[in-house]
Symmetry: C2
Subunit: 351 residues, 2 copies
């Protein structure tokens, strides 16, 4: 319904590969590189890190230096809380921008503060994009027909003309497929139109996810496997020059028992793997999601954002140093896995 | 995490039953009547209409009298669109408040306009409650652990202290259960604490809902039936004096093949039945959802909001008259069904 506006904030294309740089990655060309999947694959290569930093800003967990000491901190001072969340997130973005290709904003922690929180969400999405980061809006929306179109307009389309023209939305959002394939269509349409991406929930990382996602169907597949099978042709329709689709899948890094099966069923989808760190998944557990060392991003939120609270980062320095160190450690931790995922050895770009 | 604030906007209890009024409905008493399910059952009886009006304000479909003629209307003038949506919705609420017990706001049509739209959403929720209507926020949220708690805080809890103390949230919200029973817990906890309600998606009304909800499990149940079975004990934990639970279920009125089965599996849940009218469900199709003429609300959005666009309401008067007539017609249409659902005849309160 919205016209295709000239995007006032074109996605900052990674400068990779620079002329003369030794690399085994094909250059996709300007037009094709604009597809979300291609931009993401290029950014992962540029940053040499298949890592997504999850932005889950929880006022009660923020460093004292940002939100005040425990005695001074008033969780019921909403304006103060939003300001602290804003400052904290903006600082985190600056720290991680040179290190990782993409961040994921958890919408709930902003919606908690009503419209004011939502305003902060969009401002911070813009900050992240201006820093050259790709952005996922973790909104897990899903609804029928024109309602899904309205969600896609608000969360994925570029801003329309008029006073909201400059509105910046994420490069991709998470969507919930429970309502059916027809309810994904409006999201896919918007993603195509604006060269954005989707990450469809296929198997989540939480302990109770087995309740409704691991149940066995009469044909022997799990419910999640069936969702993956139905999603595969949709993903096939948005494959870019990188060989990956802009229709990705959320698969909990904790779900090792089904990772290989889901990867086989969705060979073109980039897997977004939450659950690393605070939720207990290790680097090793993500291995089956990678295809020749590519096609997956491991997401970590609290183990990075709140590294200053962890014993192992005592003495590292202030909270910002702890965030940086946690990302660097995660990158090193994953390097071995990515390496193993290459049968023929690691390409130069990821050494 | 949020403290229990004194609610500055106590839910307006329906005045029913007035002393001396002849009725077969038990008076639940002040304390018990505060449970969402009891308030809803009482309000249905008071208004003599098991009807929920769906607030799906779509700028392009608004009456010319509100949004200007087709030539003047500029969908890219976001401020103008939000103003028109606000005025339209406020007028609809005034028309339907004396006629129906409850309205359902579709969040997507507000989120489409970013933070400004969300601000309008909360203002209109407050307007509705001040008019004595119960309110459902159709947000279909669902996420893990503390993320679900954050959604519950923003969409279901009363406003915290401080400058957001006066924030008014809906009496109930819709939630998506795909992620698992553990992801419903934070919503249930908040609903209990604030005497609010939930409507859990069990079987949606859209054509594609069969894709993932009607698949047969190895034990012969459909996926939706399994969800219903797992939800039943959760609902059992929040049953009020009315005999109904504040944990309700969304079951598309279009899904007649499974309505009886789901009703048996969820005997205590109030069914919210979308799909009447524009989506094709008839009054007759909702019958199996009612238990002795009670325990269900039929939701209609476009057939009421945009009645002025329908041929059968030509000549009725302006758009407001059309809205009113559509509600009155729906009420009459459903009366017969409710009547049939009583084996022993219709109680005085619903004649």
């Amino acid at each position: 319904m919205r016209p295709v506006a000239q995007n006032p904030h074109p996605d900052p294309l990674p400068e990779y590969p620079a002329t003369g740089e030794k690399s085994c990655v094909p250059f996709f060309g300007d037009a094709m590189a604009e597809m979300f999947a291609d931009r993401l694959v290029a950014a992962i290569d540029q940053k040499k890190a298949p890592i997504c930093v999850g932005i889950d800003p929880i006022f009660e967990m923020l460093p004292d230096a940002v939100a005040g000491s425990r005695e001074d901190r008033d969780a019921n001072d909403a304006e103060g809380a939003i300001d602290a969340i804003f400052d904290f997130t903006a600082a985190v973005l600056k720290i991680v921008a040179p290190l990782v290709p993409i961040v994921k904003f958890q919408s709930a922690y902003f919606e908690k503060y009503y419209a004011e929180g939502v305003e902060a969400y969009y401002s911070l999405v813009q900050e992240a994009k201006e820093l050259g980061l790709l952005v996922i809006g973790d909104v897990k929306r899903g609804d029928i027909g024109s309602t899904a179109s309205a969600y896609a307009a608000g969360h994925l389309a570029d801003g329309p003309y008029g006073e909201q023209e400059e509105m910046v939305t994420p490069d991709a959002i998470t969507v919930n497929p429970m309502l059916g394939l027809d309810t994904l269509e409006p999201f896919v349409k918007t993603a195509k139109e604006y060269r954005k991406g989707l990450f469809v929930l296929v198997r989540t990382s939480n302990p109770g996810s087995a309740d409704f996602q691991d149940v066995l169907l009469e044909d022997g597949r799990t419910w999640s496997e069936m969702v993956a099978d139905k999603l595969a042709p949709v993903a096939e329709g948005m494959v870019g020059a990188s060989g990956f689709s802009s229709i990705g899948a959320v698969v909990g890094a904790t779900q090792t028992h089904t990772m290989e099966s889901l990867r086989k069923r969705l060979p073109k989808s980039i897997f977004l793997l939450p659950g690393y760190g605070a939720q207990g998944a290790t680097a090793e557990m993500t291995q089956a999601a990678f295809i020749n060392g590519s096609g997956a991003i491991v997401s970590a939120s609290r183990s990075i954002l709140y590294a200053h609270r962890e014993k192992k980062y005592e003495g590292v320095g202030d909270w910002k140093k702890c965030v940086e160190r946690a990302v660097v450690d995660m990158k090193a931790d994953l390097a071995g896995v990515v390496k193993k995922a290459y049968c023929g050895g690691l390409p130069a770009r990821l050494t």
